[in-house]
Symmetry: C2
Subunit: 198 residues, 2 copies
């Protein structure tokens, strides 16, 4: 049997990714099994491997969609040219998302491609687009500085936020501590440092 008219290739792709997300949302990335995905969408393993190179490939696409979702949320933030407020809002949005989609967000950085297999360009691009949001919010504070400098500060903030969500996701925050309050303090202090600096 082949080319059953139940679903197009695209529909099948959607079914598989959605099923994967559901599993990860409940059991985490560790609980994701090719056999389970196939069972959930009513096809067999073979079909799954006709859609994706392997599990790593499937996971990359799933994670890619998570980045897309995050981008979509953060894009809603309207920039006011006031870096303090803009960054505050962006961070709020970012952390809101990583909270509400904790398991999926964890999957984004928990997953590692095998040794020697490069991150696909389309994936890196999604990250770059998120970074660009921070750059835009940060720009007004850094007039007169090189693009490279702006870019660097944006990346520093991005990585720092990232570290917080990682540690929060692995349950290593302390009692009474939320990544939101930590991130707020980070942004506030960092921006302060930028403003007063030559």
């Amino acid at each position: 049997m082949a080319r059953r008219s139940d679903h197009t290739r695209e529909e099948l792709w959607r079914l598989a990714i959605d099923a994967s997300k559901k599993i990860v949302e409940i059991e985490g990335l560790r609980g994701l099994r090719a056999r389970q995905i196939a069972r959930d969408i009513g096809y067999t393993i073979g079909t799954l491997y006709n859609l994706f190179d392997d599990l790593d490939d499937l996971i990359m696409h799933m994670n890619g969609e998570t980045l897309d979702q995050l981008m979509e949320e953060c894009s809603k933030v309207e920039l006011t040219q006031d870096p303090n407020m803009d960054l505050e809002r962006l961070v709020h949005c970012y952390l809101n998302f990583t909270h509400e989609n904790a398991k999926l967000w964890n999957a984004v950085f928990e997953h590692k491609l095998p040794e020697g297999r490069p991150v696909p360009d389309w994936f890196s691009d999604k990250v770059s687009r998120l970074l660009h949001l921070i750059e835009c919010a940060l720009a007004p504070i850094l007039t007169g500085r090189s693009d490279a400098e702006i870019h660097q500060h944006a990346r520093i903030l991005w990585m720092s936020l990232f570290g917080m969500t990682v540690l929060e996701g692995s349950g290593r925050l302390q009692e009474g501590e939320t990544s939101l309050t930590l991130a707020r303090t980070l942004i506030k202090t960092y921006v302060h440092g930028l403003q007063r600096e030559p």
Copy 2:
């Protein structure tokens, strides 16, 4: 055969952990197999499972030793009461270590315990001790502020640095970018922000 006098339980434990480190250093955490460890130390799987609960347990202990090593290195840094210099040195030490032990360091955060299995206290304690180093370096700048506040800033810096090494480890830094230069800028800007703040 049992209780062969070749090795004490402690020696065996060392052999297993060391063999694991060697494998991870070459192949990364993904390449770590119980069977390989057993083979490398000249025992069978059964013996390995007599020493450790399971692979997760073994990995936690291996990662624990990595934290110990990092702590040992960072402890060598003598504090001068000049936060800028002290932090600079600490960061230098930290990043030196994570560079030279990249794969092992990656293993520390790549590894995740299964759903619902808490991080052992002895492991969290090791992290706390590292954090305390940063607190001490940071303290002179924050005279008059509460311990909680000092603690928070220390944790923010720790998490930020962490985020950088994570992204560096997964090959997501850009060309010409090193976590050392990024971290330097982070510390400089953040400390600046702290100093000028009311």
